[in-house]
């Protein structure tokens, strides 16, 4: 597909998505779409790091901070989410830097990085549970209903508004993904994920590059948490924070495809539709079945299809991908004769 063709496809798709709630108004289906969009955004945020081999199980923590800080500021101090969301994002970003800097500085990679981030999401979960006087602990927390201006409180009753907000946020995530994909950082990070020492020797500032992408990813995940909280108006430590949420992000991103921009979105569509179908089809009998299917799929995918559904399909669709590679090789030859 040519560049113009692709842009046109995006534009048509987007126009259809924007027009959808004005044509089709079934509240339940819109609700599912909003959830898909919000979670897609969260999964995309995770995959920004995940695609470079920085597998974090701490994103449940960032999401929890986004949701809880926004809600707590609103309920206790009466600060509008318009202020609360940036504050919560800054909080999550600060945490990401505090944990990320030493991690990257001291070369904590692979298993060790996964386990440090696991501890991080454990901490956030336990702090939320421990401060139950303020956060309601594991019983969950509800932001107060706004008495005055709905816009100021970022609380809307109709699904259409939320659909458009979620669509905007999701689109923002995709745009950021593409922005990173085109930047120099992407090449630096890919080099780092292949061989950290070689990348450092080639002049890549390993710590700084990793920190940048971690910060970006954490900020976006916190935003996803805050939006989720504003939409659902009810959060519990288990739905927005902790290890289960982190694993859920990893799972959806991998099933959809970690290395393509719409992969995490595709993962969200599959996982949420699967959960909803099972819930409607089997009712309360289906408790647990969705996760059972997820788990089996996750294992099968990692063994047989590590690029995910969308990634593998796209690979099949364009075998002529070799073309640009050869071209790049030539460019290298010209730049470095004899290499």
């Amino acid at each position: 597909m040519t560049r113009q063709g692709r842009l046109a496809a995006w534009a048509v798709g987007l126009a259809a998505l924007v027009a959808l709630p004005f044509v089709y108004r079934d509240p339940y289906h819109l609700h599912i779409l909003v959830l898909i969009l919000i979670w897609s955004f969260a999964y995309t945020s995770w995959s920004m790091m995940g695609r470079f081999g920085l597998v974090s199980l701490g994103h449940g923590g960032f999401m929890g901070i986004g949701a809880y800080v926004t809600a707590l500021l609103w309920n206790h101090l009466g600060w509008s989410p318009w202020i609360g969301i940036p504050i919560s994002m800054v909080a999550a970003g600060a945490l990401a830097l505090i944990v990320g800097y030493p991690c990257f500085r001291f070369r904590i990679t692979g298993h060790y990085f996964v386990l440090v981030t696991l501890a991080l999401s454990g901490i956030v979960l336990q702090v939320i549970t421990a401060t139950r006087d303020y956060t309601g602990g594991s019983l969950g927390y509800t932001p107060n209903r706004a008495s005055g201006n709905k816009l100021l409180a970022l609380q809307f009753d109709d699904k259409t508004t939320w659909y458009l907000i979620a669509l905007g946020v999701w689109l923002f995530g995709i745009v950021v993904w593409h922005w990173v994909d085109r930047s120099m950082s992407r090449y630096a990070l890919e080099a780092i994920s292949e061989d950290e020492d070689a990348a450092a020797a080639a002049g890549v500032d390993v710590t700084a590059e990793k920190l940048k992408i971690t910060l970006l990813s954490a900020l976006m995940t916190a935003l996803a948490g805050a939006i989720y909280c504003q939409y659902q108006m009810f959060i519990t430590p288990d739905t927005v924070s902790g290890i289960a949420v982190s694993l859920q992000m990893v799972f959806a991103a991998i099933v959809g495809g970690l290395f393509v921009s719409l992969g995490p979105t595709f993962g969200a569509v599959i996982t949420i539709l699967l959960a909803e179908t099972l819930r409607i089809g089997f009712g309360t009998k289906a408790v647990g079945w969705d996760n059972l299917v997820y788990g089996v799929l996750l294992v099968l995918f990692i063994i047989f299809l590590p690029k995910g559904i969308l990634g593998s399909v796209l690979d099949r669709l364009k075998p002529q991908r070799k073309g640009p590679r050869a071209h790049e090789q030539e460019a290298v030859q010209i730049a470095r004769p004899g290499a």
Binding site: F106, V114, A119, L120, L292, G295, L298, V299, I302, I303
Partner: protein, 293 residues
């Protein structure tokens, strides 16, 4: 004795001793995981879920079939050992050459499977064995008999593993593999078989831990999440694959949780332990006992 007890806060002492008892069980949990990591170089994220399945097995054998606790325990250990071997055969073996992250994530998938299998099969009710062991009173301090028993059983289990690893041919081969994966195959050791044995052994340790934990805690499908993360952190803190480091780290963690719980809520004990872990990762990234390279 009384004078000694007067100097120390009695609750403090009680917390310290309870911490040591808790440390025994944590050390046992960490031992199985360390074994797997040291030999196969894989992290079983679903390790605590194997323990959970073992706890359910104990519950059903004792409550449903009415067998005694001590007959049920060997069955449970055997069952979880088979599960461990199956996990290796079905999930880890096809991924041995894949990036380590993929192995870790695949066992994350198994975590989902086991958890939701338990939810589907057993429901989300909390169940307990119905065995109430007496509480030991010592001075003004109270210790649960179950904890003491677990501590002792954990020690026995660890000594048994130590003897197995040092005194038998298989154990020696396992230790050799953990030192050099490639060469051992050339020395005529069947690596695949050793991996299976190690996985079964790791599973058996999880089963033993299950037998002990079921005495103290109610079992439900998500019980693994309450001690799973702590177990990983202990292994990492001790240095993945380092048995003695894991042993020491287990007691350090148990004391932090126990003492933190004394001064505030139990959750803050966990927060402290997690924070301690993160700080330690920066000071000694390769574990408590790592030699400086």
């Amino acid at each position: 004795m009384q004078a000694f007890l007067d100097i120390f806060d009695i609750y403090l002492l009680e917390a310290v001793i309870n911490g040591i008892l808790l440390g025994g069980v944590l050390a046992l949990l960490a031992l199985g995981l360390n074994l797997i990591f040291g030999v196969i170089d894989v992290t079983w994220i679903c390790y605590a879920e194997l323990v959970m399945i073992g706890m359910y097995a104990m519950y059903f054998i004792v409550q449903y079939y009415g067998l005694s606790y001590f007959i049920a325990a060997p069955f449970t250990i055997l069952l979880v050992a088979i599960l461990g071997a199956a996990l290796h055969y079905l999930v880890i073996a096809p991924l041995l050459t894949a990036p380590p992250i993929n192995q870790l994530l695949a066992t994350g998938g198994v975590l989902f499977v086991l958890q939701s299998f338990a939810t589907v099969a057993f429901g989300i009710d909390f169940r307990n064995l119905g065995i109430r062991l007496p509480v030991l009173a010592f001075g003004d301090m109270n210790f649960s008999y179950a904890r003491l028993l677990s501590f002792l059983a954990a020690l026995v289990g660890m000594v048994a593993v130590y003897l197995f690893m040092t005194r038998t041919f298989t154990g020696t081969a396992i230790r050799a593999i953990s030192q050099d994966r490639q060469i051992m195959a050339l020395m005529g050791v069947d690596t695949k078989r050793m991996y299976l044995i190690t996985s079964a052994l790791g599973g058996a340790l999880a089963g033993l831990a299950a037998c002990l934990l079921v005495l103290q805690y109610d079992v439900h499908p998500f019980v693994g999440l309450s001690f799973g993360p702590i177990t990983f952190l202990i292994c990492v803190l001790g240095g993945l694959g380092n048995f003695i480091g894991g042993f020491i780290a287990a007691f350090v963690f148990a004391e932090i949780i126990s003492l933190g719980g004394l001064f505030s809520d139990l959750e803050w004990g966990y927060v402290l332990a997690f924070a301690f872990f993160i700080v330690m990762m920066f000071i000694r990234p390769a574990g408590l006992l790592a030699r400086r390279r």
